[in-house]
Amino acid sequence: MPDSAKPLEPNAAPETIEEEREEVLVRRSRRGDLKAYDDLVRRYQERIYATIYHMTSNHEDANDLAQESFIKAFQALGSFKGGSSFYTWLYRIAVNKTINFLKQRKNRTHMSLNDLDFNAEHDPDLMALISHKTPQRDAGLNELQEKLNAALLKLSEQHRLVVVLHDVQGQSHEEIAKVMDCNIGTVRSRLFYARQQLQSELADYLK
């Protein structure tokens, strides 16, 4: 699973070169070089955006929050000591921003559903889930997506974040622990609890 998906020894050298290049970009950005920062934004925009989107289930909010996260990161670059990778640090900013936003939005029930990409309709695993194995044979992708989003939104922000980072984005427990600034045991227990909650919410689709 995601833990095993981590690059092994043969990929170590290119990863180091990548990290070195990233360090150079961060250093240049700290000096106010917006071209370098533009490179960093391009590098992480999709991953940051996806995490925020899966937390908020709203493209507009995700767009705003992702932009604000990058802006805040640029303004706070002076305080980045390099103790963790830039990506982890950036992720932490985005996650905190999103959690704060969700706390403020708590009273809002609005949730926009977004279209699945075209390929999803041709995914055999997915089609199997919503075809003969499910009791609701006529349940379409949209309905399933709606249920899934609703179930995720019932979780607390911390539990939802763990599920999104691990099961949707494929991050390892270690990476999640760094982003959430907690230990791996906490990540595992939160993940277990969140999955249990989701399983009971989505029982009809999992039989």
């Binding site: 699973m1 917006l34 920062y37 533009d38 934004v41 391009r42 925009q45 999709e46 955006y49 996806a50 989107y53 899966h54 493209h59 767009n63 992702a66 932009q67 990058f70 802006i71 640029f74 303004q75 977004n114 699945l116 990409d117 390929n119 999803a120 995914d123 695993d125 997915l126 889930l129 399933l144 997506q145 899934l148 995720l152 599920v163 999104v164 099961d167 949707v168 984005q169 595992r188 277990f192 999955r195 989701l198 399983q199 989505l202 689709y205 999992l206």
Partner: protein, 165 residues
């Protein structure tokens, strides 16, 4: 943990559906430029913030500048005055004695036209011509009364002071 992974296998497959939720193609084309644009705007706003604070602290300055917008002739006059002051300053710094004569003609004339005499008055020469009731000097006064002794006699210019009510 492997057992729980198996237990939640179906759920994981269902959650992978979330990964399919992607924005339309080309969504990120202008994303980084928008971020950079907003950063630039923020930096410009910081500079504007300084001006806003300045005008808040000194509203007269804002009114003064706005009066130039309303009547451009004021701006021209103001600049002309500033220019004249600048020229006068340059002229004054080149010929300080001319300016001194202009400013203090009577004193200079009384001292025989020497500019040094103006800045260092000679008390020994001036004392007899002045009134005996008023003497101005930065030197310590030991005795201005010819009849008083420095050790026992009373100085008529010094008054005893009491602090009781």
């Amino acid at each position: 943990m492997n057992e729980s992974e198996t237990h939640f296998e179906q759920l994981s497959r269902l959650l992978s559906l979330k990964g399919r939720e992607v924005p339309p193609p080309g969504y990120f084309n202008g994303f980084s430029s928008r971020v950079i644009h907003r950063i630039r705007q923020g930096e410009a706003a910081k500079a504007d913030g300084f001006l806003a604070r300045l005008f808040e602290e000194a509203p007269w300055l804002l009114r003064f500048i706005r009066s130039f917008e309303a009547r451009p002739a004021y701006a021209g006059t103001f600049v002309s005055v500033l220019f004249l002051l600048l020229v006068a300053g340059i002229v004054y710094s080149d010929h300080p004695e001319v300016a001194t004569e202009t400013l203090m003609p009577t004193t200079a004339a009384a001292t025989g036209g020497s500019p040094l005499a103006v800045v260092t008055p000679n008390f020994m020469e001036q004392a007899p011509s002045q009134s005996a009731d008023f003497v101005s000097s930065t030197n310590p006064v030991l005795s201005l009364d010819p009849g008083a002794s420095a050790f026992g006699g009373q100085n008529s210019l010094l008054q005893p002071v009491g602090f009781t009510r």
